[in-house]
Amino acid sequence: MNLIDKQLVQNKMNNRIIKSRIMRTVFFLATSFGIAVLAVLLYRVFSQGLPYLDWQFLTNFASRFPEEAGIKAAIFGTLWVMAVTAPVSIVLGVGTAIYLEEYAKENKFTRFIRMNISNLAGVPSVVFGLLGLTVFVRLLEMGRSVMAGGLTMSLLIMPIIVVAAQEAIRSIPQNQYEASYAMGATKWQTVRRVILPAAIPGMLTGSILALSRAIGETAPLLTIGAMSFVAYVPGSIRDSFTVLPIQIYNWTGRPQEEFHIIASAGIIVLLVALILMNSIAVFIRNKFSKRY
């Protein structure tokens, strides 16, 4: 007694195969859409900006005259802000991750903090800008300085670094902990000599990706009032500053067509910096990925 009608199976066969092919095309189109948009964007930016990109553009300050305008102040501003953001966010982020993974007792409070760090990573960046404005610029009277900008950016990317560092720590097998503790190592010795060496590649990758996000962020720095026209290089963390994305944003907002073109040149510089940082992150991940 056959429960399956072979004829029916035959009739449905073509339909099923066609459906499968259609879905394949749909998914392919979905992917192509993103790539196409990226290609158009890159084409526009590069075709507009590349002719303008020269050494002078990198070494000139902003100017009223498009042909003289450059991004020196923005490049140095970005470097200054990162010089504050990178150490602060990495030390705080990695420290938080180590505490949460290694030291914190498993209880409601810890779970609450864990959950909210992930939530924090999803808070819109402009909100961090408002926080920076209230706390750093006004309350702590740092003004619109590199310091205030850098600290605001640290807050923005710290949750990302915490999550990446937690992942890196969690990927270390239990037997490594056992080996270390069984020889009488203390918690700190285990962290320093087993956990950190094994987790640093992952932490570094996450930190670089987080920093590259910070470099591209505009909103928080606009909110705390970073300048858009700066004709000098910041000399200390108390000076006011501008950064690449703000400079670009400022140029695209101007009525003259020429400024739109130099904005494209600025975007190329920013993109190259970001791609460079992301490649370093990928390189570190591939080179040091541990096999246990």
Partner: protein, 273 residues
């Protein structure tokens, strides 16, 4: 390439040499209970582990053998939900007393695990991990420790020319002997072994078994094993665990030839487990 362990002239600096003859037991476990959360894993465990003997712990999967051996160096406390009651005395000192530091205990009790777990470091760095942890920094002493430990673990001849290579490049059996060397490097009194050969091929297993026979001259060894022939071959005393209880603890010869308990007999004759 078997290398005869001709290197047994090394004297182990045990703390109190003259005392050793009288002191028959190194561990005495009394009325020891252990829970993971609400599940009780060990019930009223009561046994003494003798000095300079091999004590085997056998039993079916999930009977609490590994839990028990990890209680002896308090490594079981890595599980957050664990609760314990009763007493484990090491050299007549209660290991759970607040005065007895866990780091101190683990400095004189080494452990070898089921799966080889070297650190992703060089062979040399693996061996000196323990001594460095305990604050020994002189390069000359560390070099000597490496040579001595690797010789004791019967690995020296195979690796002496590549001490700076990563330990992950070794075979499974070599990695396990490296882990034994790493454990010997802290000059422990006791070596706990948690199924040390279950992940190894028969040849590596034989080598580790021979090694255990050598090591018991200088160390007290407790070994968990799944393999009853192994327990019969290498141990002096055997404890049979079932569902978290010690069913029988006896001289190995006695336990395997003429067990007191019916359940032991059933297990060793293969009727269950």
């Amino acid at each position: 390439m078997t290398n005869a362990p001709e290197n047994k002239q090394v004297t182990i600096t045990n703390t109190i040499e003259p005392d050793k003859e009288d002191k028959k037991t190194i561990y005495s476990i009394d009325n020891f209970n252990l829970w993971y959360g609400d599940n009780q894993a060990l019930y009223d465990v009561q046994l003494d582990i003798p000095v300079n003997k091999v004590t085997a712990i056998i039993g079916p999967s999930g009977c609490g053998k590994s839990t028990f051996i990890k209680s002896l160096n308090r490594l079981v406390e890595l599980v957050p939900s664990v609760k314990m009651s009763g007493s484990i005395k090491y050299n007549d000192k209660e290991i759970f007393s607040p005065k007895f530091k866990v780091e101190d205990l683990r400095t004189s009790v080494g452990m070898v695990f089921q799966n080889p777990n070297p650190f992703p470091k060089s062979i040399y760095e693996n061996v000196v991990y323990g001594p460095k942890t305990h604050g020994i920094k002189k390069k000359k002493i560390l070099d000597e420790i490496v040579e001595k430990s690797l010789k004791e673990a019967a690995l020296w001849d195979e690796v002496k020319d590549r001490l700076n290579e990563n330990a992950f490049g070794l075979s499974g059996g070599q990695q396990q002997r490296l882990c034994i060397a790493r454990c010997l490097a802290i000059e422990p009194e006791v070596i706990l072994m948690d199924e040390p050969t279950s992940a190894l091929d028969p040849i590596s297993t034989t080598r580790i078994e021979e090694l255990v026979q050598e090591l018991k001259k200088d160390y007290s060894i407790a070994i968990v094993t799944h393999n009853m022939q192994q327990a019969a071959r290498i141990s002096d005393r055997t404890a049979f665990f079932l569902n978290g209880e010690v069913i029988e603890y006896n001289d190995t010869d006695k336990l395997f030839s003429n067990p007191d308990d019916k359940r032991t007999e059933d297990y060793i004759t293969g009727r269950f487990g």
